[in-house]
């Protein structure tokens, strides 16, 4: 599928830090593309350069094969990480105001239904809960029937149920054919929603591709997890062992052999867990530090 968006050699320098360092990628139309990385990795700066709200020190952004211009602004929907809305204005008035700023108009009734805002239409913006507010901000991002939507950390601060509801909503938008650019530091969110991801650290892209393919490319094994407290003394084992957050993780392509060695060393296996490597493991392997650091 043709690329709807291309970022070429983006760089953003501040007086004492390089926030984005030679970032290039392209996004095919209709997919959900995730920018994954810890706080401060440069995800938000990267998308804000693409959105046109932060000027790049160097680099170019192309939309539908042409430099991003007024057409991009007209056809893009954006949900920032933190956006205040006007006080004393209702949900419906907010949607109507933002819709009036575009020539392209989505069916407002459809958006209201899609984002479950029907019961909130006449509520003051100040009286919305975190989840309701995020749904409104997403609806605002959709009022111009965008071909591409940017969602910057959309579920940060939401409770687990609200997060899951938001994921369903994002999936429905993608099913309508809209391209989604999602930045997140939640690897489960990226794994569930994204067709393709770019992992960022310290302003650079360190891995890019389909999440499953990236994991398959990096790992052919499983991970055996044990609580650190269950291992008495020093563990002597012929596999890669990592201690992290109160756990011992043993990466192996022969789980039976690991279990046998653990039994021989009288390690309790009641709380043992075997799992497949995930994006957090990948990030840890690629950078040497945790995604949540």
């Amino acid at each position: 599928m043709a690329a709807i968006l291309q970022a070429r050699h983006l760089r953003k320098e501040y007086p004492r830090v390089v926030a984005v360092d030679d970032v290039s990628f392209e996004v095919a139309e209709g997919i959900c593309f995730g920018l994954l990385g810890p706080n401060g990795a440069g995800k938000t700066t990267t998308v804000e350069i693409i959105e046109g709200v932060t000027p790049a020190t160097s680099g170019e952004v192309y939309y539908c094969g042409r430099p991003a211009d007024a057409r991009f602004r007209e056809e893009a929907g954006i949900q920032f990480q933190n956006t205040a809305l006007q006080d004393h204005i209702t949900v419906l008035e907010t949607l109507q105001m933002f819709q009036a700023l575009y020539d392209r108009h989505a069916d407002l009734e459809h958006i209201i239904a899609e984002c479950s805002l029907r019961d909130l239409l006449h509520r003051d913006n100040r009286k919305l809960s975190g989840g309701q507010r995020q749904r409104l901000l997403l609806a605002v991002a959709l009022v111009n029937e965008p071909r591409i939507v940017f969602l910057d950390e959309p579920t940060t601060g939401l409770d687990p149920q609200a997060r899951r509801n938001f994921w369903e909503l994002v999936n429905r938008i993608r099913e309508d054919g809209t391209t989604i650019i999602l930045t997140t530091h939640y690897m489960d969110e990226a794994q569930i929603l994204c067709d393709e991801i770019a992992i960022m650290d310290a302003g650079r892209i360190i891995a890019i591709g389909n999440p499953t393919e990236l994991l398959h490319r990096q790992y052919s094994n499983a991970i055996v997890e044990l609580p650190l407290a269950d291992v008495k003394g020093k563990l002597s084992i012929s596999h890669k062992v990592l201690e992290t957050q109160g756990l011992i993780e043993i990466a192996t392509d022969d789980v039976n052999a690991v279990l046998q060695q653990l039994s021989q060393q009288a390690v309790g296996l009641n709380r043992l867990r075997i799992r497949q490597p995930n994006l957090e493991d990948l990030f840890l392997d690629l950078t040497g530090h945790s995604l949540r650091a």
Binding site: G52, V53, A76, L85, Y102
Partner: protein
């Protein structure tokens, strides 16, 4: 409890002290006001105002040496006579032969100014001409000032503060991500505030006029045009001040910097006729001076729209400049 109070107290102090712009402003403003006022109002204030019809006689006149009299050059005899009739000038004197002076017999200050003139004597014969006319009540004179002052504060702070708040909380950044341009945002702000302020000003004017039977010698249409253009200019100034500022406290300081000199020097409370030349020149740089000059000319002197055209042109030019610069340097983001 005190520990918590101290923690909040300390954090707020640090926030304030590290906001260099606001801190500097809090120190500079009172100094500037004190120095400015002491300079403007230094020396003995004149007690009487006497108009000298131009061209003035070349011979030195003893009366011109009289203390506590402010001598004002008057180019237009008709305008000078109107001021004598309305007690705005205590005397009008022409030393050019045949020398004459005009006085309102109903004016107490005119009586004393006339005594001073006759005691000082003149180099030639002097003819007295009496002019009748009611004094312009202070309430009639000050009404345009109060309306304009209210308009000014509402325009400057109503727009300036709001724009800075929008910038700080990210609402402007969100608007930036839409096709909306800075000039469109600025025009929308001007229009929104304009409608509200004009409605309030009309309401206050109508109420005051009804309760105090204030004077209105000109056309309401002309007055409305002056109010409309004055509002646009002051809102544009508010937008210009708020175009790049990211701190509400600094914005407050800058807005006060614009508002206070206008309140003191634009003739809101007292006439600038007896002020020194440089004060009058400085006052001409303020939009409020032109609003008040035009409004008083219409309300008190019955001036037509054509007669206040110079003031309207200055206001239109100021509006275009303020709005254009504000749109050019406008900053959408706080950082």
């Amino acid at each position: 409890m005190f520990k918590r109070i101290y923690a909040v107290f300390r954090a707020r102090n640090l926030e304030f002290l590290r906001d260099r712009g606001t801190l500097s402003w809090n120190i500079v403003l009172p100094f500037a006001l004190m120095f400015g006022l002491s300079f403007i109002f230094s020396g003995d204030r004149p007690q009487y105002t006497v108009g000298i019809l131009q061209p003035a006689d070349a011979n030195p006149q003893p009366f011109m040496e009289t203390r506590y009299v402010e001598f004002v050059a008057v180019d237009d005899e008709t305008a000078g006579l109107r001021k004598v009739a309305r007690h705005q000038l205590d005397l009008l004197v022409s030393f050019t032969p045949p020398a004459r002076y005009w006085v309102n017999p109903d004016s107490a200050r005119g009586y004393f100014a006339e005594l001073a003139l006759l005691q000082a004597g003149t180099t030639g014969p002097l003819t007295k001409v009496s002019i009748q006319g009611e004094a312009v009540r202070y309430v009639d004179w000050v009404l345009p000032g109060i309306l304009a002052m209210n308009m000014m504060f509402s325009c400057l702070f109503g727009v300036g503060y709001v724009v800075v708040r929008y910038r700080k909380n990210g609402f402007l950044k969100r608007l930036r991500a839409t096709p909306l341009r800075a000039i469109e945002f600025a025009i929308a702000q001007v229009a929104s505030r304009l409608v509200l302020i004009i409605a309030i000003t009309v309401l206050v004017y109508a109420g005051t006029s009804w309760l105090l039977d204030t004077r209105m010698d000109g056309s309401y249409f002309a007055l409305f045009a002056v109010a409309l253009l004055g509002c646009v200019t002051l809102i544009s100034l508010g937008l210009l001040i708020a175009a790049r500022v990211t701190s509400e406290e600094l914005a407050g300081g800058l807005l006060n910097l614009a508002a206070w000199p206008m309140m003191l020097l634009s003739g809101v409370w007292y006439s600038l006729e007896s002020a020194s030349e440089w004060v009058r020149q400085l006052a001409n740089a303020f939009p409020l001076t032109h609003v008040l000059s035009a409004a008083r000319a219409i309300m008190l002197d019955g001036a037509t729209l054509g007669e206040v055209l110079p003031q309207l042109l200055v206001l239109a030019l100021m509006s275009a400049a303020f709005l254009g610069i504000a749109a050019g340097i406008f900053r959408w983001r706080a950082t």
